[in-house]
Symmetry: C2
Subunit: 432 residues, 2 copies
């Protein structure tokens, strides 16, 4: 739903917001921050290079918006997520007015702003369960080709939004380093595995979905109602140890190859902020089966997908030393998701599985169809056989210690102000 909060003419009295690459007044993402000096973590809204203290702002709001801001007084956004779309929309509408140029409330709002650079950002929610999907069809095809060149996609792929359970405890917010894992590695020249540091450390470019209101165990969520269970979106780096994965994953799927850490961006981009960037679900290639009825909803087909540009950058010690900018590894887009978010949610709950506010869903790696749009090094370097060459003279088959991976997302649509997701960044620490 496009409303006054999306007006491209809308400007904020927070000067840094106007033209800000991520957080103009049209975005207003939610997060959890500690103010300078180290107060208790609480809800906040990013506006330009500032963060608005949400619980402190509750007194300036009315009705459902005040209720939402008060719920953000907790150290996680779970309670706010649980309130659903009504209070979240009311909050957006009133904050948009308070922060707009000419707002008579400016003098009362300004003291509630903190310089973002001086704040600490935290995980936005206590993650009950984390589920990772596999809806990036070009990624699934690229990976499948390694094993089945003639028939890369398994027979279930175009019927089932494939997903599996990930590890909730090891999800960390952007900026937290990730430790290179050790594990069992089966080297090609050896009968038995050895235990040692991962040699094929990789990233995966994903979008994360925050669940808002949940469902009772045993009660499916119809696909037409699924969007009302979504609280927002983030970037997600699903770090992957390819050598550990190759040896351990049969028959029950990835485990230690993934659960040593996942990194998410701190800001929750709301469905409201992303309304101008909705697109029709891209047409399925001719011959692909129609989604089964429980996954098919007209409105979702018409406007359930997103046009959001995604980028991955690699920052190596060599680039840093030489003062060179991070190397862009990949450019992709959420339009390469074979299933919509509503289909992911409806499928997840189709057997009665109960979702809860603060659950996190990952999209799976989103690769573009072209070689410059691979969402992992495994794809970009063809399993490590075609190293990436960097301006520093370095090469990379997989990630090395000291490397930082940076994910970015930006939604653009002519006639609207573009918004960004902020950054999802982490640096690789050497193995213990």
């Amino acid at each position: 739903m496009i409303d006054a909060t999306h007006d491209p003419a809308l400007r904020s009295w927070v000067e840094s917001a106007n033209g800000h690459p991520h957080f103009p007044i049209q975005n207003l993402p939610l997060g959890i921050f500690s103010p300078p000096g180290g107060g208790a973590p609480r809800g906040g809204v990013a506006i330009g290079d500032r963060i608005l203290d949400l619980p402190a702002a509750a007194a300036l709001l009315i009705g459902e918006a005040a209720q939402a801001a008060a719920a953000a007084g907790a150290p996680t956004l779970n309670a706010l997520f649980a309130l659903g779309a009504g209070p979240r929309r009311a909050l957006r509408a009133q904050l948009s007015e308070l922060l707009a140029e000419g707002s008579p409330a400016r003098a009362r709002v300004e003291p509630l702003l903190h310089a973002a650079a001086d704040c600490a950002l935290h995980l936005p929610a206590r993650i009950g369960d984390y589920t990772d999907f596999y809806v990036g069809i070009h990624h699934a095809t690229n990976i499948g080709k390694v094993f089945r060149p003639d028939n890369p996609l398994l027979p279930n792929y175009k019927y089932v939004p494939i997903g599996y359970h990930g590890r909730a405890s090891s999800v960390r917010v952007s900026g937290t380093p990730v430790r290179r894992p050790s594990g069992q590695l089966k080297l090609p020249d050896s009968e038995a595995p050895v235990f040692g540091p991962c040699r094929r450390l990789d990233y995966e470019l994903e979008v994360g979905v925050w669940i808002g209101p949940g469902n009772e165990l045993g009660e499916p969520i119809p696909v037409g109602e699924a969007d009302s269970h979504v609280a927002g979106f983030c970037l997600l780096n699903d770090w992957s140890a390819r050598d550990i994965q190759a040896w351990e994953y049969q028959p029950l799927g990835p485990f230690l190859a993934k659960n040593f850490g996942s990194t998410i961006s701190p800001w929750v981009i709301t469905p409201e902020a992303l309304a101008p960037f909705r697109i029709a679900q891209p047409a399925r290639p001719e011959g692909d089966p129609a989604p089964l009825p429980y996954l098919l909803d007209d409105a979702d087909q018409r406007a359930g997908a997103f046009d959001i540009g995604l980028e991955v950058f690699l920052e190596t010690p060599g680039l840093r030393e030489r003062g060179l900018p991070p190397h862009r590894l990949s450019a992709s887009n959420t339009r390469h998701m074979y299933w919509t978010v509503a289909q992911m949610v409806a499928h997840h709950a189709s057997n009665g599985c109960d979702l809860h506010p603060g659950d996190l869903l990952g999209s799976g790696t989103i690769s573009a169809p072209d070689e410059a749009g691979c969402g992992s090094l495994l794809e970009t370097t063809k399993g490590g056989t075609r190293p990436v060459e960097l301006e520093s003279g370095e090469t990379r088959r997989f990630l090395e210690d000291g490397d930082a991976v940076i994910l970015r997302a930006r939604a653009e649509n002519p006639g609207f102000v573009a918004i960004g997701f902020g950054e999802c960044r982490a640096t690789v620490l050497p193995a213990r």
Copy 2:
């Protein structure tokens, strides 16, 4: 460590405890209960057919035991689990004295007991993450035979304690019915899947492991210290929709086939209570590789396994109507676990994955090598081809609506008083 709390001559002034099949004074398992009339959930200890209110008993305890009992004032045992073995042992020792025949404290303790039959039992902890292993080697072999008759175990099985992440949100305590899930089913005579109620609903006989003190992300747990991270044990029924599973599980493992519900027994059987039932890790068959060093600990090899008898009973509407007892489907034993609990924990954290108090690990299905010891109907009925015949005249290939599955466990060792785990029971409700 065997101490005075295990003395077989020890009797309780709670008469029902003496000779109780599950909860003699030598057991003293921990749980969360609501007293009759519906007070707030709190920690309790089962003794015979009574439950001792733990926070109420804190005033009768001293030192670490009092600390443990006070921690049990919360509606979950997470805080008690986090305290680790010292306070848990002190609690056991002092409760054993308070409840023993001749205790001078009897008059003060007796008012703190409730009739278990009048109490509600809850999940003992808030489960952060739930991980399911696959350490029942006879189960893995039975399942593998379906796909690879000549080479049923995959090459990694004897090196890797295979595990995967399950769904924490849908774990329920014994007594909560389980709703038959619907899902995508690929019928043999059809090209495309259909969506409908599961036709091949199954149980899985497992033991659950409660995690006590956790580890920091990035910091592995050495196998020699792994037992100190375990708070206790329960029974676990990992309900499985075999038809959904067969179609969805490639390439990332089981998802909707499992996450519609898991049932656990309410009582946490402590490592202390199980000390008399420790056995050496059964010798690996000749030719099996030795565990890699990070999974190998002398003390664990000598006494890291358990001798606990496991049983599965099926109670059908027909048996109930005719007043017939539940049918015993299976008898197995924890000695059929190929990996010890310490090996499971050490492996889980070997890549730095962080475990937390209240995390739940499942063993995976524990089948005995013989046909009467299969831990699932898939095995017992050979994939539904050899139905089980019941005294009521009913037959079962898989579970039908109204069926109840009951898991029981009992640890016996001559010279000690046998203890039980209580019951893990749930009834199948028809699909929505």
